[in-house]
Point group: C2
């Protein structure tokens, strides 16, 4: 399974309550693996299962090439 | 719609026939937007719709924050 990790800029987070709210909201999504909130920097890093990337890799492999 | 762009290392590409085969295989996938094959470097760059990233963004927004 392809796991994708991305950092998003998020506005409106001001305290630990916000951090908890973001973490709770994201962990409710099935494909989300981990959440890291940087309150000071206004950034949320999330890793999640990327189904489309899986399809891309399988298409390349099915065509006879190797994704390394 | 969140569009994701990624470069993969791919082994086994040796000629323009390979480039065409890779491009054809990837363009058959519904969510794939563009494909760029670097034959010499052994790299394939693909941009595609990332449904899971969309869910992540919507969850943050639904919790009352803004993804910028």
């Amino acid at each position: 399974m392809a796991v994708q990790s991305l950092t998003l800029d998020v506005r409106g987070m001001s305290c630990s309550h916000c951090v908890n709210a973001i973490e709770r909201a994201l962990k409710e999504i099935g494909g989300v693996k981990s959440v890291d909130v940087d309150l000071k920097g206004g950034k949320v890093t999330v890793s999640y299962n990327d189904v489309e990337l899986d399809k891309v890799k399988h298409a390349i492999e099915d065509a006879g090439y190797e994704v390394v």
